[in-house]
């Protein structure tokens, strides 16, 4: 479990989401969402299927764009910027369903992650990813599509890390993975946060693991935030336990 952060007044507000509303056509998916992410912390967003978690993640990335509200990243309003512009501002995302390039090798996938970076930094970035996920090093010449689910998730995170992000957005990294692999992936995320001070915004259905890992958490129901607090607080709340954790804690 991560330590509680108590020096918020000294920390930079990396990402600030204020009153964001997102629509798919006429259907409102987000109803005025407020989320803050401070530098160096792991923030998780939990909620049921269809609550709007992934929509919030995609709205941060600008696809779809928020109809109203404001998203500020490191002092810049990124609400109406195109996706590629947002993603080249030291934000990296490991999208839902991993979306690795299945026909390309592990090396090529990692290269794609660093496509906007200075080629001189490629080797050091590669070494870091291989250190974090030694399995990827073993599989480096293998086609992405032939990796197992857990390895593909490692590759998706590794690819995101290749761009040396300040903020890492992870959309359901535990999706469809065996509990043991989920533990490995979450341990790697925690390690990145501790050793590199990487800020992580994590969208998860696996509330138990996510809240144990995160410094702070938000609970989303029907497109609005209903609860927030430190991971420990949320874990002990009866509503959270009954709605998201019953039978899920292992």
């Amino acid at each position: 479990m991560s330590a509680v952060i108590d020096d918020y007044e000294n920390r930079e507000l990396l990402l600030s989401i204020r009153g964001v509303e997102t629509f798919y056509g006429k259907i409102q998916a987000l109803r005025g969402v407020d989320v803050d992410v401070y530098r160096g912390e792991i923030v998780t967003l939990i909620g049921a299927n269809g609550a709007g978690k992934s929509t919030l993640m995609m709205t941060i990335c600008g696809s779809p764009q928020a109809r109203s509200g404001q998203i500020v990243y490191r002092g810049d309003d990124i609400t109406k910027l195109p996706t590629h512009d947002i993603m080249s501002r030291s934000i990296a995302q490991s999208p839902e369903g991993r979306r690795i390039f299945s026909r390309m090798t592990v090396m090529e996938n990692l290269q794609m992650g660093a496509i906007l970076e200075d080629p001189k930094d490629f080797q050091s970035g590669l070494d870091k990813v291989f250190e974090l996920f030694p399995r990827l090093k073993e599989r480096r010449n293998q086609r992405g599509g032939t990796l197992s689910g857990g390895e593909q998730q490692m590759l998706a995170i590794g690819r995101a890390l290749m761009s040396r992000p300040k903020l890492l957005l992870l959309d359901e990294p535990s999706l469809g993975l065996a509990p043991l692999i989920v533990k490995q992936i979450f341990a790697a995320i925690g390690e990145l946060n501790r050793t590199e001070g990487l800020t992580v915004f994590l969208v998860e259905q696996n509330a138990f693991h996510a809240l144990r890992l995160a410094h702070r958490g938000y609970v989303m129901v029907n497109g609005s935030i209903t609860m927030s607090g430190t991971g420990k607080e949320l874990l002990s709340r009866e509503e959270v336990r009954s709605a998201y954790l019953e039978g899920g804690a292992h």
Binding site: T83, A92, M104, M112, G145
Partner: protein, 486 residues
């Protein structure tokens, strides 16, 4: 009640044992089973099967081959052709016998040699590479080879080679758009037309030479590629295909109807021939032959054209291969795989798509201006949809994204169709007046179906990664999800 308690043969232990013994005996073929009849030898069985096949063929074709009716004076003339019938039965017999003897009934079918040896047993030869280099060498020395071995058909074969190379170049150009970037383009011929008309109009109106106009034509085509690219940026797959198809037709219809500018259906005449540093390939005193003090021969111009298109095609290939290793080329390939992931990595997919369209269109434009200078005359008729279809077929049959596959497919499709013209042998079989070229579309279709059944991802369906960590490894395409990234 009494009967249910009565022990039966199967629920008593010893009874079950007896039963299983009986079953074991039965399995070993003891009575009451009769012995299987002794098997015929491989030769006899093959003969029998061949006989059945021949009889079937004979029965089915008896009326078609033996009796031939022609309209004669006062009714039908009947001619008997039993020898044709016998020949076909013989062919069926022989073919079936060979198939049965060597493949179906053989202990080790000879087809085992065609199967891919497993990777663990031996290191596979870099066949693709060797084949590619061999083809390149043949291509470079082709005019010499033709002159030495087939001097009588020299001109015809050289002309055919030029045609094939034009399609190779077009295939390589389209391969950038379809094979690498995964954007299905059914209107590629539009860029071919833009290149051809750009060159023709520039040269006839402003008296410019081929080498000046060539880059300009490529530039114009690239511009049109971008113009097509903009409206279709949001489209994928089928929708993109339909819009590009419409674009190809629009260009052709405009060329057809803008009479004052393009000459309409009459086309454009008098397009100049390319020169070698200002030397024309003509009989005159300032021609190529006179300058080098050799005898004039019209073939010299063909050889020159051949080397131009070879150089242009190789340039296309070279640029594509280099592009694949650059970030933009890698982004093309990634775009084909997953557009959303590309955006998530900060890639501007608009620019990537437009660059793919523009690069592909540029090579189409080069090929178009070469076409114009070779023909000396162009009209909208040369740029119909069937051209787009043939180029796309070459790319798909060769294997999307495979450079060597495009070459093989071009040689087979373009060369193969031409070859059909020379198959006078078939006339003997199907009767005089049988024109094999009439059936070329049928054969075309059959070939496509056959390739798609046996090699659903094209003749060469592996891609070589653009970056290696110590060793090269080919990647089979068979397990890759289809339709992604279109």
């Amino acid at each position: 009640m009494e009967t249910t308690n009565q022990p039966t043969a199967s629920n008593r232990p010893e009874g079950a044992e007896l039963e299983s013994e009986a079953r074991r005996d039965a399995m070993q073929g003891e009575p009451p089973f009769t012995e299987a009849p002794p098997e015929d030898s491989r030769f006899v069985r093959s003969l029998k099967e061949a006989g059945i096949t021949a009889a079937l063929v004979g029965a089915l074709t008896v009326f078609f081959f033996i009796f031939r009716t022609d309209i004669g004076s006062g009714g039908l003339d009947l001619t008997l052709r039993p020898e044709l019938w016998l020949v076909w039965m013989g062919i069926a017999f022989g073919a079936r016998f060979l198939l049965s003897y060597f493949i179906f009934r053989a202990e080790e079918p000879i087809t085992r040699y065609f199967k891919r040896p497993s990777a663990s047993r031996r290191k596979p030869l870099p066949i693709g590479k060797i084949f590619g280099v061999a083809m390149l060498i043949v291509a470079i020395f082709l005019p010499v080879l033709l002159d030495t071995f087939l001097p009588r058909q020299n001109r015809y074969l050289l002309d055919l080679s030029i045609l094939i190379l034009t399609y190779v170049m077009l295939g390589w150009g389209l391969n950038i758009v379809v094979g690498l970037a995964g954007l299905l383009d059914l209107g590629y011929v539009a860029f071919y037309a833009v290149g051809a008309y750009s060159f023709a109009l520039l040269s006839t109106n402003f008296d410019l030479g081929f080498w000046v106009c060539l880059p300009m034509a490529g530039l114009f085509a690239a511009l049109w590629g971008i113009m097509l690219g903009f409206p279709v940026l949001r489209l994928r797959g089928d929708y993109l295909a339909i819009v590009t198809l419409a674009f190809g037709e629009i260009i052709r219809v405009v060329l057809l109807n803008w009479y004052e500018f393009t000459g309409g259906p009459n086309g454009l005449l008098g397009i100049p021939k390319p020169t070698l540093f200002g030397l024309e390939f003509s009989r005159g005193d300032d021609g190529f032959a006179a300058y080098f003090g050799i005898d004039y021969d019209p073939i010299q111009r063909f050889v020159f054209l051949y080397y131009i298109i070879l150089a242009l095609a190789l340039l296309t290939n070279f640029v594509t291969m280099r592009m694949r290793k650059l970030p933009v080329g890698r982004a093309w390939e990634a775009l084909r795989e997953d557009e959303i992931a590309c955006r998530a990595l900060g890639i501007n997919t608009v620019n990537v798509k437009l660059s793919a369209f523009a690069t592909g269109a540029m090579f189409g434009g080069f090929a178009g201006s070469f076409f114009a200078t070779r023909q000396g005359f162009i009209s909208p008729e040369s740029f119909t949809f069937i051209e787009s279809a043939i180029i796309l077929a070459i790319v798909v049959l060769g294997g999307l994204g495979s450079q060597l596959g495009v070459v093989i497919a071009s040689v087979v499709m373009i060369g193969g169709i031409e070859l059909l013209r020379n198959l006078t042998v078939l006339e003997a079989v199907f009767g005089a007046g049988f024109d094999p070229t009439q059936y070329r579309m049928l054969i075309f279709g059959l070939a496509m179906v056959a390739i798609m059944v046996w090699k659903p991802r094209g003749l060469i369906s592996t891609r070589i990664p653009s970056v290696f960590y110590k060793e090269k490894k080919k990647i089979g395409a068979d397990l890759v999800s289809q339709g992604e990234g279109h």
